[in-house]
């Protein structure tokens, strides 16, 4: 399949790039199918210096392709893949900055590297796949907003940072590795699962939703109550869904449904659930 390649001309080493780069122009160009010549003339502000897109990026062809590759990206590039619509696939070769895949609206964003804070922030639909690590507030909300991601899936092959799924409203976050502190904080609904360890204060302020973990956290909050061991039928459906993505989650047997169930955070009247695999 043919694809459009966008290559950053600057250095990929973060130490040599002093200012942040707002990449919202890329989503605009993709969604509007703008010609490469027109895109190259788009203004781009880097700090207080004025550039055009063409000054900093090479673009191979018009953005009429559904598959786009961004090469030589770095951690200063924010808002990569913002609000991508259905049927568009953006592959990023390298690390990305903050707000990658924010407000994603059905597209597919594959990050072949690490992502900084707020990846998948307020996303609505689609898939974000991070082959490296994610940082804080994955699937969270924009500062001041009352809800985070409201649909879609975020798959992190590495580990994620603190406040994963903060204010999450719907959707699924899958982390193959570890999750930091305050996972599912203020969660409204949705599902967060991992295969590694998890930090402190899991589910603090959680209202509803599911945290599905392989091991019990070291400190279970006082607002979480043990509801005993159960076989939950819906886990088979969930596992079928998780296993559709090429990841370590495929090693989970779909008929595995025995869990220890905690509900909380009751300190805020929450009825969320923390499920720990048994056996």
């Amino acid at each position: 399949m043919t694809h459009t390649t966008v290559t950053y001309k600057g250095p990929s080493d973060k130490s040599e790039v002093k200012q942040r780069l707002d990449m919202r122009w890329l989503s605009h160009a993709i969604c509007e199918s703008i010609s490469s010549d027109a895109v190259k003339k788009l203004p781009l502000l880097v700090g207080n210096e004025k550039f055009t897109v063409g000054d900093l990026f090479d673009i191979s062809s018009k953005f009429s392709n559904q598959s786009i590759v961004l090469e030589n990206s770095n951690t200063n590039m924010d808002y990569i893949g913002r609000a991508l619509a259905t049927n568009i696939e953006l592959t990023v070769k390298g690390n990305v900055g903050h707000f990658a895949g924010a407000e994603l609206a059905g597209g597919k964003l594959i990050i072949d590297g690490d992502a900084q804070n707020y990846a998948g922030c307020s996303m609505k639909k689609g898939l974000i796949e991070i082959t490296g690590d994610g940082s804080d507030y994955i699937g969270g909300a924009f500062a001041g907003d009352k809800k985070g991601m409201s649909g879609g899936t975020i798959l992190v092959h590495g580990s994620s940072g603190n406040f994963t799924g903060d204010l999450m409203r719907r959707g699924t976050i899958m982390v193959v590795g570890n999750i930091g502190d305050y996972c599912a904080s203020r969660m409204i609904a949705g599902t967060i699962t991992n295969l590694g360890t998890i930090g402190k204060q899991v589910g603090v302020g959680m209202r509803r939703g599911t945290i599905l973990l392989p091991h019990k956290p070291k400190d279970v909050l006082t607002g979480f109550h043990d509801c005993g061991r159960h076989n939950l039928g819906y886990l088979t459906l969930l596992l079928h869904d998780l296993r559709q993505y090429k990841s370590t989650f495929q090693s989970l047997h779909p008929m595995r449904r025995r869990i220890q169930r905690y509900i909380g955070d009751t300190t805020v009247g929450g009825q969320g659930e923390m499920l720990i695999w048994i056996g």
């Binding site: 649909g151 719907r170 959707g171 609904a189 599902t191 509803r208 599911t210 159960h230 076989n231 939950l232 039928g233 819906y234 088979t236 459906l237 969930l238 079928h240 869904d241 559709q244 779909p254 008929m255 009825q271 659930e273």
Partner: protein, 305 residues
């Protein structure tokens, strides 16, 4: 047309447009799935008195069901969407929700949807939780054996009800033999149910009655004990007449079911006391679907001769 000595009358079965849905009931084993399915499809023989016609379509292996447990597929037919939705929810609520270990899923993908667990969830009294998995919403309702898992909605489609076969036989045992053979053959097909008890009907009805308060009454021209009446259609050798009513999702499904049923009866032949096969109709004015027996049996007839 005569096959194996059995006359196929040159007439047609008249069928009606309906709305149908399919749900899949799963449970810890087939025993409990069947309990739920049989209860849910009980008292669902005719839309005239039951609101819905329902039956078990087939057994589903655990590798085919959404939650990997043994399942049973149930089809429900009604005259309109509103009645179908109401009947579905009542029957799920009273017969499946109550049955130990069960869960219920949509059996029709896409298209127009009707509520399944959407309203049943309120039984959870605020403790119910929804899960959006793979783009579909499910409800988890806490119950005394754990959780009742239920899809939020299921698809429904236009369908056909009232396909039928009438068997004229020399005695009740012969008529039963014929019906059982036909029911076994039709029961192998998908997208079909035979909503009456065991699949057979002995009280075929005609439209109207001498009593003003009745819309339907016994089909007296087909009653052997009234053979002396001038409007009776049974020959002097006929002592029993039985009907098999077929509801199906498409015209092709009903036609195939009728063909398989007639073939099974004809395989028994006249030597087993079966005299004639005919179809029930109301002159063609009531139902838009006319299944002409000889057209249905045309290909099969060529095989027999």
């Amino acid at each position: 047309m005569i096959i194996n000595g059995v006359e196929i009358e040159d007439t047609f079965a008249e069928a009606f447009s309906m709305r149908a849905t399919r749900v899949i009931i799963t449970a810890i084993n087939y025993k409990w799935a069947r309990h739920a399915a049989e209860t849910m499809t009980g008292f669902a023989t005719s839309v005239i008195g039951c609101g819905v016609e329902a039956g078990i379509e087939k057994i589903i292996g655990n590798h085919e069901t959404p939650d990997g447990r043994p399942g049973i597929s149930v089809l429900l037919f009604s005259t309109d969407k509103k009645t179908l939705e109401k009947q579905l929810q009542t029957r799920i609520g009273q017969c499946v929700l109550t049955c130990p270990t069960t869960a219920v899923f949509s059996g029709m993908k896409g298209g127009d949807q009707i509520a399944l667990g959407k309203n049943i969830r309120y039984f959870g009294d605020g403790f119910q939780t929804s899960k959006n998995i793979g783009g579909k919403r499910f409800w988890r309702i806490p119950v005394m054996d754990g959780e009742f898992l239920c899809a939020e909605s299921t698809g429904y489609q236009k369908a056909i009800g009232g396909g039928n076969i009438l068997v004229f036989a020399r005695g009740i045992s012969h008529a039963l033999l014929a019906c059982e053979a036909a029911i076994d053959a039709i029961g192998m097909l998908p997208n079909i149910i035979m909503p009456f008890p065991g699949g057979g009907v002995r009280s075929g009805s005609k439209v109207g009655s001498k009593y003003k308060f009745l819309n339907a009454s016994t089909n007296h021209p087909f009653c052997p004990t009234l053979k002396g009446r001038p409007d009776n259609v049974l020959g002097k050798n006929i002592e029993a007449c039985m009907e098999i009513v077929i509801d199906g999702l498409t015209k092709e499904d009903v036609a195939l079911a009728m063909q398989r049923g007639i073939e099974a009866i004809c395989d028994l032949g006249k030597s087993q006391g079966i005299e004639k096969i005919t179809g029930g109709n109301y002159g063609g004015d009531l139902g838009p679907y006319h299944f002409h027996l000889r057209e249905i049996m045309h290909d099969a007839y060529n095989r027999y001769i």
